[in-house]
Symmetry: C2
Subunit: 446 residues, 2 copies
């Protein structure tokens, strides 16, 4: 249903059917409109966007990712451009400006009111991908000596300008964070009781300079709608809200998934990303991997005489490298994920390696049976036995390599997700061949 | 720091140092305690758990995953067992009972008060993985004719028992969902205004029988702290809250990531999962894949004469199958993710295939240059040319196969994540060899 309407929208733009577009826009919520715009050819996007009501315009705009936001901005006249930016949430605006080309960024900053410009500049002062870039400074701060009744009055007076009032940071005289109260706690408490008596001082807090992904996962663990953010002197500076946390987790998972297949993550919507950008995101690792795979050529050249003597050995090369790669990928993927969600730490390395070693051995024994059966059907018995023994050794080895590499990467400060399945596969290919031909020479006595 | 303390905790249990354990527990928030318990040997878990205060006991318990919850329950006496279950959130309890062995489930249901048992039975009536299993029925429901002042009184009176009061469902006389009001809207509105004048009727809603993952992603898109859930007659039945949504998204991503490496997702914490369970989660696909990879043996047997004539062709088999597999994995991974986050739909198939075809061709041309260079260094020119041409063809083919298979899977109602990178790799291996030897025979004229 939604699909068909989406088709219609582009068609209506081509037909210049303004009434139809207005009707379509009125019938859809902002996030669906944003999704449809992102799927569209860039030159069409601006038409329905201009037809939106002023207040929905902002909602739709904030749902777009920065790449598409830039395209929209380029299509707007100065007044509309500045109005839109002025009204954006400061954290969304900072991320947009931080990622935009200098031309758009300068034009954007120049048009802002002084208050908004100061707020944006402060957020842009934090490192990319840090909590500071994602937090909102627009919150309702309570002093710990307030009564609950007075605190509720403050929320009523200032709440409309804040991004969230569900988590209310509580500060002492030096604006140092004492803890938080939840709005629900205020509502169910007695008006005369004091904020300092209901403040949750054990709430986790993060520094604005810490990585945003970790903060988002902490929010999930601690079940918080918003996480207070402090500076190096424990002073409150902002809140990381759940919607940004959800977005951070989804983006981090997308990145990990892309890396698992040895591709860089691509910003923007798959449907509207160009072919050269997709190819660029993938080519670097492929080049590294094909260069690494020349190792397999070297190993095989080394055993070329053996191959000429027993050509049948070549028949099992893809099966052996494939199986080793699969087992190694499984181990690597499991450990990368366990690291990402915090189940495994670097100090677990010996335990993980030993566990995966046993898993690999078990898997190898099962798979060797299949390989032996297939082998006995098509090649001489000696080759079949060599294949079966090699499978056991390769699976064990692949599981150990696949599981320890991500941990070693984390140890030396590299993103473990960089240890992708293809990287493990390529390394296991070369070492697997070495194992295979060594075993074969022993078994066949050549 | 936390790491070292974790080590200490197990040590303190072994030493029976109860004071030390109590101190450690007092110093850590529930989610960190739960994490530490999940990493521990099952027979130790119960010791620190029993030393927790009554109210923190519940908080820690709810942070554990169902596998560990069951282990704790087995270690508790009847009174403690029933008290804990009685106090759990109904949705958490329903999931625990739904996954537990019959023995625990019966004991659990038998001990519940009638009200809680009825609530749990209702949730268990919904299909597994549906919204109904994850929503909370404990909410504060407002009638649309209330005034804001009266609504706030209702929140104050009933709020303490509800899981969330940030999103308040608004219903009409037949308990049909009219929309929601946010608690913040109530707080900033005039006491005399009416709920029906501030209700958000455009809020998205889901049926209790719909898949939970989709509902969680909808919450993220719509930036909602909680999503109202209705039955088939549009009557309000519960709220899906943001913490469950975060958990659902993380679990769904973990599952997709595991499947991408051809493993089934493993419930529970990596550190405490046993070797046989890990092996079981991985072996099924490995068996299928090794059987599929006998296709490569068949293809090579078919070309055995060619191989005997030109052994040099064997040297490039791993490089070619590896590169084809890598390109195919990238495409498959990109499309599986794009499907998961809703960027691509089945009807996009022709566009996706054409786009990936061009990406594969571009990548193939670049990689062929490297292969040609390496080839000219170690083998006769004819073989090197055959390798280079094959790389271009294989990369293009792999990208098309890798991208269309997940879409076809979705089309026939299979989880696209089942089209894992290893599956694509194995299929591309066999077809890639066919391409390689056909090209070689043509180029070498044999």
């Amino acid at each position: 249903m939604a699909d068909e309407r989406g088709e219609d929208l582009t068609q209506m733009i081509v037909d210049n059917d303004l009434t139809g577009i207005r009707l379509w826009l009125a019938e859809h919520p902002p996030y669906e409109i944003a999704d449809e715009l992102e799927r569209m050819d860039a030159r069409y996007m601006i038409v329905p966007f201009r037809l939106l009501d002023k207040d929905r315009e902002l909602e739709v705009f904030e749902e777009l990712d920065p790449v598409h936001q830039q395209e929209i901005l380029l299509g707007l006249r100065d007044s509309a451009f500045h109005e839109l930016l002025e009204e954006m949430d400061p954290d969304d605006r900072a991320r947009l400006i931080g990622e935009a080309p200098a031309k758009i960024a300068t034009r954007a900053l120049a048009g802002l009111s002084q208050a908004e410009r100061r707020m944006t500049a402060a957020l842009l002062g934090y490192p990319e991908e840090s909590v500071g870039r994602y937090m909102t400074p627009e919150t309702v701060v309570l002093h710990r000596d307030l009564t609950v009744g007075r605190a509720l009055e403050v929320v009523r007076a200032k709440g409309a300008d804040a991004e969230t009032v569900y988590i209310l940071p509580v500060v002492d005289d030096g604006r140092r964070l004492a803890g938080i109260v939840q709005l629900s706690d205020l509502v169910v408490s007695d008006d005369d009781s004091l904020v300092k008596d209901i403040v949750d001082v054990f709430v986790p807090r993060v520094r604005a300079t810490e990585p945003a992904e970790g903060a988002a996962r902490l929010m999930q663990e601690a079940n918080l709608v918003a996480l207070p953010v402090v500076d190096s002197e424990e002073r409150f500076v902002g809140l990381l809200t759940f919607d940004d946390a959800l977005e951070l987790i989804e983006a981090a998972d997308s990145e990990d998934i892309a890396r698992q297949s040895a591709a860089s993550p691509v910003a923007g919507h798959y449907v509207s990303v160009t072919v050269p950008r997709l190819a660029r995101a993938r080519v670097v690792w492929l080049l590294l991997l094909i260069v690494a795979s020349t190792l397999t050529v070297t190993v095989l050249t080394h055993f070329e005489a053996t191959l000429e003597q027993v050509t049948a050995l070549a028949l099992f090369i893809p099966m052996l490298t494939g199986t080793g790669g699969n087992v190694g990928s499984q181990s690597a993927t499991a450990i990368v994920r366990a690291l990402a969600v915090g189940e495994v730490r670097v100090r677990d390395l010996p335990g993980v390696a030993w566990k995966e070693c046993r898993v690999g051995l078990m898997l190898g024994c099962v798979l060797a049976l299949i390989a032996l059966t297939v082998g006995l059907l098509v090649v001489p018995g000696g080759v079949a036995v060599a294949v079966a023994i090699s499978i056991i050794a390769i699976c064990t080895w692949a599981a150990v390599i696949g599981s320890t590499m991500p941990l070693l990467a984390r140890r030396i400060g590299v993103d473990p997700a960089v240890v992708s399945a293809p990287l493990v596969t390529t390394l296991v290919d070369a070492t697997g061949l070495l194992i295979y031909f060594s075993v074969a020479r022993m078994v066949l006595g050549i």
